[in-house]
Every structure is written in structure tokens, then in C-alpha cells.
């Protein structure tokens, strides 16, 4: 099972002189259980694309198949699609509205028409999933929490619907490094524990690099590249052409290799890079 787009085309301001193709013939497939990244510049079409994944936007041409259900088919219920595919928008903390954390997280499950005890169970599950103590936080006002905490509660609001796919649009935007790590490690843990499919959208290679297993690069509404991080980062020249870079770590490793060090360049995070540099330097020192 998967999310699959078929020749997906979406146009803005159709029929006027401002007509632009926000999405131009996109064919991708995101398999269940995967951890993928969608990367591209502002205006590359990533936000438009993910809004198609849960039926908030409808394609002008082409189709999207979600778990075997075509979005074009009349029998497909949008509410069901939105339950299967959970979408966390950019700055999700701005959607909080209830008096207590409990009520806010319960909003989604209640909309699904679940029974009270089931709602409570799901709220507890979701709040704990994003790393909070349920008892401690449930009666607090969401507006009293810090920025990073608010964001985690907002993510819990989507998780409480028990989606099979979780889309996160720029989940680290506007957070400090500590908040960024907090969110990303939560997401990583979530994927590992519950096996949920995660689609991470970002314009920063740094964020995506250390987590995802598969990357889609969008540029001007078209699919520019696709592959494993290793495959993508080996084409750093191509990425620079569209204004994207490779993560700094990869850059450093490549530079070191150029300088004649016998170093492994398939390294995407700082920890591994440190170990590799020590290994190489160590062997050099021994000589």
C-alpha cells in the first residue's frame, strides 16, 4: 500500500495571464513504512503537493491513489482520507484553540465520531507519543506552553487521529537548535516505535539528511531528482544549480577527500563524521 501520484498537474490562476503550474506532471510513490523527505526551494511546489496527499487540494489533471483509493472517485470519502493521511502544517501551534491540552488533542478524534473512552485513550496515546507526561499536561492551557512544546501538542492533535501516514511541513521552522533536535528526535522515535510512514518536508538538507531513507527533490513544480540520500548527495553540482546544497557534513567530507585524505564520503551526520575523521587522522598519525 502506498500514496501514489499519477501525472499530477496543478495550476494556479488557471485561465488568466498569471497561470503557473505549481505541480507539473508529478509521478511519485511513497510506500507504507517508509521515512521520506521532500525537499525544494520556496515555491517549488512542496506545500501544494502535500496538500494533495490528504485531499485538501484537488488535482487539475492526473490522480492520487491513497491506499488504493483514487481521489478522483466519487465514492472516496475525504474524511476517511484525512484520517489515513495526517497533515501537520507549518507552524502548527497557531491552530491550537481549546482551553486545555486534552480538549485540543481530542478535537480530531471527536470529529471522527469516536466514543468518549476511545477518545480519551487516543489522546493519552498521542500526548505520550510526543514525549509529554499525560497527567501533568492534560489540564494545562496550550497557550501557557513554550513554542516547541506547543508544536509537539499540535502534532499530537494530528497523531490522535491515528493516521497511517504523517506529513510534517517544515516541522522545525522558527525553532532554536534545542527545539529542532527535540522535534526531530521525537519524529524519529515515533517512526521507529509505531512504524508510521513519515513524510518530512523541508528546504533544509541538514534536517532531512540524518533521518530520511529516500529523498524527492522538487524544483519549479517538477520532480528534479529522487533517490537515497547517498544518491542525491553524490550529485551536489546538480543540487547547487537549483540553489540547494548538500549538508555541510557531506561538503566537508568531500573537501577532505579532494585534499587527498582516504575518507568515506557517505556520511550524513556529525557523529559519524567525527568518528570517521578520527579514524583517518589516527591511521595517518600512526604512519
Amino acid at each position: 500500500m502506498s500514496i501514489k501520484t499519477v501525472n499530477l498537474i496543478f495550476k494556479y490562476s488557471e485561465g488568466t495571464q498569471f497561470e503557473t503550474r505549481a505541480l507539473d506532471d508529478i509521478n511519485i510513490e511513497i510506500k507504507k513504512g517508509d521515512f521520506v523527505g521532500i525537499i525544494g526551494h520556496t515555491g517549488s511546489g512542496k506545500s501544494t503537493l502535500i496538500q494533495h496527499f490528504n485531499g485538501l487540494m484537488k488535482p487539475d489533471k492526473g490522480d492520487i491513489i491513497i491506499e488504493g483509493k483514487s481521489l478522483k472517485a466519487k465514492s472516496t470519502k475525504l474524511k476517511l482520507i484525512r484520517q489515513i493521511v495526517g497533515l501537520v502544517f507549518q507552524y502548527p501551534e497557531y491552530q491550537l484553540f481549546e482551553e486545555t491540552v486534552y480538549k485540543d488533542v481530542a478535537y480530531g478524534p471527536i470529529n471522527l465520531g469516536l466514543k468518549d473512552n476511545e477518545v480519551e485513550e487516543r489522546v493519552k496515546y498521542a500526548i505520550e507519543l510526543v514525549g509529554f507526561d499525560y497527567k501533568e499536561v492534560k489540564d494545562k492551557s496550550p497557550f501557557d506552553l513554550s513554542g516547541g512544546q506547543k508544536r509537539r501538542i499540535a502534532i499530537a492533535g494530528v497523531l490522535a487521529m491515528k493516521p497511517q501516514y504523517l506529513i510534517l511541513d517544515e516541522p522545525t521552522a522558527g525553532l532554536d537548535p534545542a527545539g529542532r533536535n527535540e522535534i526531530l528526535s521525537q519524529v524519529e522515535k515515533l517512526h521507529r516505535k509505531s512504524g508510521i510512514t513519515v513524510i518530512l518536508v523541508s528546504h533544509s538538507m541538514e534536517d532531512i539528511a540524518r533521518l530520511v531513507k529516500h529523498i524527492f527533490v522538487l524544483n519549479k513544480g517538477k520532480l528534479y531528482m529522487e533517490g537515497t540520500p547517498k544518491e542525491i548527495y553524490s550529485q551536489s553540482e546538480e543540487l547547487k544549480k537549483i540553489g540547494l546544497g548538500v549538508p555541510q557534513v557531506v561538503e566537508i567530507m568531500k573537501e577532505l577527500k579532494k585534499k587527498g585524505f582516504n575518507i568515506n564520503t557517505d556520511i550524513f551526520n556529525i557523529q559519524d563524521a567525527r568518528d570517521e575523521i578520527i579514524r583517518v587522522l589516527g591511521s595517518n598519525l600512526n604512519v
Binding site: K79, R82, F89, Y94, Q95, F97, Y107, G108, N111, V158
Partner: protein, 266 residues
């Protein structure tokens, strides 16, 4: 969902009308509205149409764009028209069940309908040809004399500018929050009235919160740049009358004179 609002929209091009002083344009618009209430016969309407027609042609705004401004009040015009047709007593022309269509009613309905249409076209010509910033500058300048009796002219104008500036921002925000709540299974479209009103809470609360946050941030940013009300404040763009304004003024004067005489002659 908000894409069809044209009232108060600016059509930014260069033209004779666009380049007139905003103060003059506001005054002319007022005179135009007054003229609509002075006239008492259909012949005088030809004068009004001639005047507003000249303005539209000089402004180079596409006629369709001008007509679009009528869309939101279309229903009001129709209702006014119907009420006037049926509710005026006089010589009966045609009977429609219990309702009479009278000669006077028909005349009255046509008169009122035309007045409403011209009123909207006239005022939308002001907003179509004047940028919101110039408009508030003009209002401020016109209100200045009343400062002596305690009217905070500058503050009022500043408030209007800020309000206008944030309309598109808040609309964008509304759409965003709506989508976010829809992604959590919200339903804004179905159900009876009470349920629908209730479903707006998850939309309105975040919207208000963000409006207050934005207001706070803006106030802070203005203070950080030492903003202090109207007293001794200079401006980047000084308003000033040119020869064009004189022509427009004379043209309007002749128009008003004709309108007033029309009342006595016809």
C-alpha cells in the same frame, strides 16, 4: 473563497484620474453623492451618467472591473427595485394578484435603482483609482482642521491604514487555519445553523490569537523605530495640487452648477 471581493479594491495604473490629489477626489466623490440626491428627474440622470462616464474613460479602468463592484449589492438593488414597484400607490398599470404595479411605482423603482447603481459606481471609482495609502493620507489631511476640537486625525488615519494593510494577511491566515482544522477532520460546510456556528470556534480562536499577536508585534516594531503620533511628524510624500486638479475642480463645479439648475428648469 474571498477572491470575489472587489469593493474597495485598487486598480493600479497611471491615468488622469489616478494622478489627481486624493483630497480632491474625496471631495468630488462627496459632491457626486450629493448630486445624486439633488436631482429629481430622469433627464438629469443623463448629466450624471455623462459625468461618471467621463471619469471612467479618463481613469482607463476597464468597464467590466467597474461593474464587478456592483456584484455584492446586486440583491439589495433588486429588492429595492421590487419594493418600490409594488409598494407605491398611484395609477394602476397592471395587476399581479394582490399586488399593483403603478405608473408612479415604476418610475420610483427606476429612479431608486439607478441612484443606487450610480452611487456604488461613483464611490468605487474613488477606491479603484486611489491607493489605500493615498486615500488615508487624503482623509487625514481633510480631517486636520478638526484637530482643534480634539479629533485625533492622524491616529484615525493610521488605524485605517493598518486595518487595510492587514485585510489580505488575515484572509490568508483564515484560509491556512481552515485547512489545518480540516486536516483534523473539521467540517465547515454541512450541518444546521447552530452546528455550523459552533464549527467556527476552532477557526476564530486561533485567528483572534494571531491577530492580537500581530498587533502586539507591530506596536513593538513601531515603537522600536520611535513612532510618535501626529505632532511634528513629516511625511515621505507631501500631498500637493497640480494643474490637473484645477481642471478636475472646474469640471466638477460646472457639473454641480448644471445639476442644481436642472432642478429648477426641468
Amino acid at each position: 473563497m474571498f477572491k470575489n471581493i472587489t469593493i474597495g479594491q485598487h486598480y493600479p495604473i497611471e491615468s488622469f484620474i489616478h494622478n489627481l490629489d486624493p483630497r480632491l477626489k474625496i471631495v468630488i466623490t462627496f459632491l457626486f453623492i450629493i448630486s445624486l440626491f439633488i436631482i429629481n428627474n430622469f433627464l438629469a440622470y443623463s448629466l450624471v451618467v455623462l459625468f461618471i462616464g467621463t471619469v471612467i474613460i479618463l481613469s482607463k479602468v476597464p468597464f467590466l472591473m467597474v461593474l464587478k463592484g456592483l456584484k455584492p449589492i446586486f440583491i439589495i438593488i433588486i429588492i429595492t427595485f421590487l419594493i418600490n414597484i409594488f409598494m407605491t400607490s398611484g395609477e394602476v398599470l397592471y395587476q399581479l394578484g394582490p399586488l399593483d404595479i403603478t405608473r408612479e411605482g415604476l418610475r420610483q423603482a427606476g429612479f431608486m435603482g439607478l441612484r443606487l447603481i450610480l452611487l456604488i459606481i461613483g464611490t468605487s471609482m474613488l477606491t479603484l483609482t486611489t491607493s489605500p495609502i493615498l486615500l488615508t493620507d487624503g482623509i487625514e489631511s481633510l480631517l486636520n482642521p478638526y484637530k482643534r476640537i480634539g479629533l485625533p486625525a492622524h491616529e484615525l488615519a493610521m488605524m485605517m491604514t493598518i486595518a487595510l494593510r492587514f485585510i489580505p494577511t488575515l484572509m490568508e491566515e483564515t484560509e491556512k487555519i481552515m485547512k489545518a482544522q480540516k486536516a483534523r477532520g473539521a467540517d465547515f460546510e454541512s450541518g444546521h445553523l447552530l452546528k455550523r456556528a459552533k464549527s467556527l470556534v476552532p477557526l476564530l480562536v486561533p485567528l483572534f490569537v494571531s491577530a492580537f499577536r500581530r498587533a502586539d508585534e507591530l506596536a513593538m516594531a513601531m515603537e522600536a523605530r520611535c513612532y510618535r503620533g501626529g505632532e511634528n511628524r513629516t511625511r515621505m510624500r507631501e500631498l500637493g495640487y497640480t494643474r490637473k486638479d484645477v481642471y478636475a475642480g472646474v469640471f466638477t463645479f460646472i457639473y454641480m452648477a448644471l445639476i442644481i439648475t436642472s432642478r429648477f428648469i426641468w
